[in-house]
Symmetry: C2
Subunit: 161 residues, 2 copies
Amino acid sequence: MEIPKIRKAKSSDSKDIIRLLVELAVYEKEPDAVKITEEELIRDGFGPNPRFECLLAELHSEIVGLAFYTPRYSTWVGDTLHLEDLIVTENMRGRGVGTLLYREFLLEAKHRGVNRVEWSVLDWNKTAIDFYKKTGAIIDGLEQWKIVRMDKKIIEKYLSS
Amino acid sequence: MEIPKIRKAKSSDSKDIIRLLVELAVYEKEPDAVKITEEELIRDGFGPNPRFECLLAELHSEIVGLAFYTPRYSTWVGDTLHLEDLIVTENMRGRGVGTLLYREFLLEAKHRGVNRVEWSVLDWNKTAIDFYKKTGAIIDGLEQWKIVRMDKKIIEKYLSS
């Protein structure tokens, strides 16, 4: 397989972003959860005051995955990035696309010098949990939602591994 | 008891903010967790591109509580507010200061028209969980960290209750 190109999303990618968000919602058993529209994504992500950032995996001009994140601020460590979603389209799973996006997201975190990245994972999503654990992420709790964190040192360690 | 005044934090409040953050960290059994400094708070919260917002409860010129929050963006519902910390100084607990701050935070969320507010709560913090439940917040999971959410309707309902 050729390696997908990872790049920042543009406003013209909003339709593809929505398609992937819906795909994840279906996977998470919440098929009707995605309420935002293409127009709202364009307005909120690509205007003068962007509220989120998004990395895309592109293969043969098709968008096959994304990493969607927002800045947050911790009262313990200051600037953090919150990974809202990491999605790979179904027929491309298991081929390393998620890992490419994940690394690029962590690189972005590193470049910005944030002290933490964080996200949530559903407790039955064993594949994701195993993946995160393997990368050194710390996973709290054992229930339906968990808070997953990676500090500067772990990010550093994973990226240099 | 007189009712504390709730107001937005100014950069000159940063010392008091740090004092309250440390107090919470001690309560959460992480006495050394607060790594940010007064200078960083001033730079990150009160400059041209503020990364957080903070409401304070002031009584007789003393800061007795805070609500510290950041904007986030949900791929399901768009703009949200993430409540990082809600703190009331120890000798003022149980007097409704937290409720005042909580309501003001939710009012802010309402005014902005965000579709969700969210935060985390430690599973052994039964007082907080009971309080959040009583206000109609939805609490997921039963483990150490939980994700707590309140949607537009619940916010509306609580504020009009």
